[in-house]
Amino acid sequence: MKVLLVDDNAELADNLAELLASERTEVFAHHDATAALAWGRTHDFDTALLDVRMPELSGVELMRLLRVGHPAARFVLMSAYTQDAELDPTQDTVAAVLTKPLDLPSLAKVLGLDA
C-alpha cells in the first residue's frame, strides 16, 4: 500500500512516516502542499493522510486537487483544531478526520493497517 503523507510540521510528518512504514506500507512524506501536489501528478497512491491547516494550500483544497487524478484514493484528514473534526465527511467523501495528537491505534485502523 502506498500512503501519501503531508504535514507542514516536518518533524511530525517524518515521525508518522517512520511509524507507518512497514514491509507492506510505503510512505511518501511531504512538508509542503505544493510539492505534494506536484508529486501526485506523476505518482500513484492508495491513501492520503493530509494535515488540514497548512500555508499555501489547506488540506481540504489539496485533497480536492489530488482527487481529480486519483479518483479511487482514500483521503484521511488530520488537524489540531477540533472544529475541523466537524468538516462534512459526506460532502467531501473523507474517510475520517483525526484530531491531533493522533491516537495511533485509531490511525492504523483508519488506514487499514494492523498496528
Binding site: 510540521n9 511530525l12 515521525n15 508518522l16 511509524l19 489540531a80 477540533t82 491531533k100 495528537p101 493522533l102
Partner: protein, 389 residues
C-alpha cells in the same frame, strides 16, 4: 463624605436643613408608614410581573419589613456615609433578583404620593408643609439616584465578567490548539523511541514517563478546550441520578463519599448532558476539596419553581452541599467572576463556567453557606426548554 453622596446632595439640592426637617417630622409621620408600605404592596400585587419577582409569601413579608425600616431610616438620619452604605445594598439586592429598573420609578411614585398625603393630613399649624414636602422629594431623588448607581455598578460587573470570560475562552482555545502539534510530535517520537530502545530498562522507564506526562498535557489541553468552547446547549432529557454518578466517578477523592437523594418527580430534566456533567464535576470537586479531612458530599434533587421577571416556571433543583469551611462574605460576592479563586490550586475558571452553562440553560446557579458550617450550591434548571416537548 463619600464623593458620590456629596455630589448627589449638591445636584438635588439636599442640605442640612432638609435633613433637619425630615428628622423633625419623623415622629408625626411614623403612624402613616405602615399604610404606605401596604399601599406599595397592593400595587405590586396588582401587577402580575411585579408579583413574580418574589419567590414566595415569606419573601413578601420580609420585604414589607425591609420597606418599613427603609421609611424609618428615611426620616431618622444621619444622612452620611453610613446612609449611603445602607442604601447601596438596595440596588445590589434588586440586581440579584433581576428587578427591571423601571419598576423603582413607579414604586417610588407610590411612596411619594403616600408621604404627600400623610404630610397634608398632619395637624400642625406651625409646620411649613411645602418646605417639608420639598425635602422629602429631594431625598426621594437621592434614593433613586443611589439605587440606579449601584444597579449600574453591578450590571457593569456582570458585563465585565462575561467579556473577561469570552477573552479568556478565546485565549485558552488558541493556546490549546497550538499545544497540540508539539504534543503530536512528542507522542509519536516517544513511540519511535520505544521501538528503537529495545528492552533497555533505563530507556523504557523514561519513555514511559514521557508518555504519561504527554497524556497529562493532552488532558490539560482538552480541559482548556472544554472551557473555550462556548457552544449552545443541546437539550435532551437527562437522567439526573446517572449523570451525578457518572460525574462523581470522574473525580479522584480518597476520603469522600457521595450521598444522593433524587425525588421521584425530579428524575429527569432537559439539559446538555456533557455540559451538565461538567458543572457537576466542578461543583462536586470543589465540595471534596473543601473537606480536606474527607466526608460526605450531599446531593439532593427535588422539584421547585424558578422565578424570573414576569413568570414562574416549574424547575428542578440540584443542591450540592459539603461540610467544609463554607464561603467568606467576600468569596460569596465574587464567586462567579473569572480569575477569582480561594484555592491555592486552580485558576478560578470553574465556577464562572458553571454559571455560564447554567445561565445558558435558562437556569440559575447560586451559592450560600449552610449552618452551622459548609457550602451549598444550588443549580436550578427549568423543566421546559424551547424546542423540546
Amino acid at each position: 463624605m463619600a464623593p458620590l453622596l456629596d455630589e448627589l446632595f449638591r445636584y438635588v439640592g439636599f442640605d442640612e436643613q432638609d435633613g433637619a426637617r425630615l428628622v423633625a417630622a419623623s415622629d408625626a409621620l411614623e403612624p402613616s408608614f405602615q399604610g404606605i408600605v401596604d399601599e406599595f404592596y397592593v400595587a405590586i400585587d396588582g401587577n402580575r410581573e411585579a408579583r413574580a419577582v418574589f419567590e414566595d409569601e415569606a419573601q413578601v413579608a420580609r420585604q414589607k419589613g425591609l420597606l418599613l425600616a427603609w421609611l424609618r431610616r428615611f426620616f431618622a438620619g444621619p444622612y452620611d456615609d453610613s446612609y449611603l452604605e445602607e442604601r447601596s445594598r438596595i440596588g445590589r439586592a434588586h440586581v440579584r433578583i433581576r428587578l427591571p429598573q423601571r419598576y423603582v420609578f413607579v414604586s417610588m411614585n407610590i411612596i411619594r404620593a403616600g408621604l404627600t398625603r400623610a404630610v397634608w393630613a398632619l395637624d400642625d399649624p406651625q409646620l411649613d408643609k411645602i418646605a417639608l414636602l420639598q425635602s422629602i422629594q429631594r431625598l426621594c431623588d437621592v434614593e433613586l439616584a443611589i439605587m440606579l448607581e449601584t444597579y449600574r455598578e453591578d450590571y457593569d460587573r456582570a458585563l465585565r465578567t462575561a467579556e473577561r470570560l469570552a477573552t479568556l475562552g478565546q485565549f485558552a482555545g488558541t493556546l490549546a490548539h497550538e499545544m497540540r502539534n508539539p504534543l503530536a510530535v512528542l507522542s509519536t517520537s516517544s513511540h519511535l523511541l520505544r521501538r528503537h530502545a529495545g528492552d533497555d530498562p533505563g530507556v523504557v522507564r523514561h519513555v514511559d514517563r514521557i508518555e504519561r506526562q504527554v497524556a497529562v498535557c493532552g488532558q490539560i489541553v482538552d480541559d482548556l478546550l472544554a472551557l473555550a468552547r462556548d457552544s449552545p446547549p443541546r437539550f435532551e432529557p437527562v437522567d439526573l441520578a446517572s449523570v451525578i454518578e457518572f460525574a462523581w466517578a470522574q473525580l479522584t477523592k480518597p476520603e469522600h463519599t457521595l450521598d444522593v437523594t433524587v425525588a421521584p418527580d425530579a428524575g429527569s430534566v432537559p439539559a446538555d448532558e456533557s455540559q451538565l456533567r461538567q458543572v457537576l464535576v466542578n461543583l462536586m470537586e470543589n465540595a471534596t476539596q473543601a473537606m480536606t479531612e474527607g466526608g460526605a458530599v450531599e446531593v439532593q434533587v427535588a422539584r421547585c419553581t424558578l422565578t424570573r421577571p414576569g413568570e414562574e416556571v416549574d424547575a428542578v433543583r440540584i443542591r450540592i452541599e459539603d461540610s467544609g469551611a463554607g464561603f467568606t462574605p467576600e468569596a460569596l460576592e465574587h464567586l462567579f467572576e473569572p480569575l477569582f479563586t480561594t484555592k491555592a490550586r486552580g485558576i478560578g475558571l470553574g465556577l464562572p463556567l458553571c454559571h455560564r452553562i447554567v445561565t445558558k440553560h435558562h437556569g440559575r446557579l447560586s451559592a450560600s453557606n449552610r449552618s452551622p458550617r459548609g457550602a451549598r450550591l444550588d443549580i436550578v434548571l427549568p423543566l421546559a426548554q424551547k424546542g423540546m416537548s
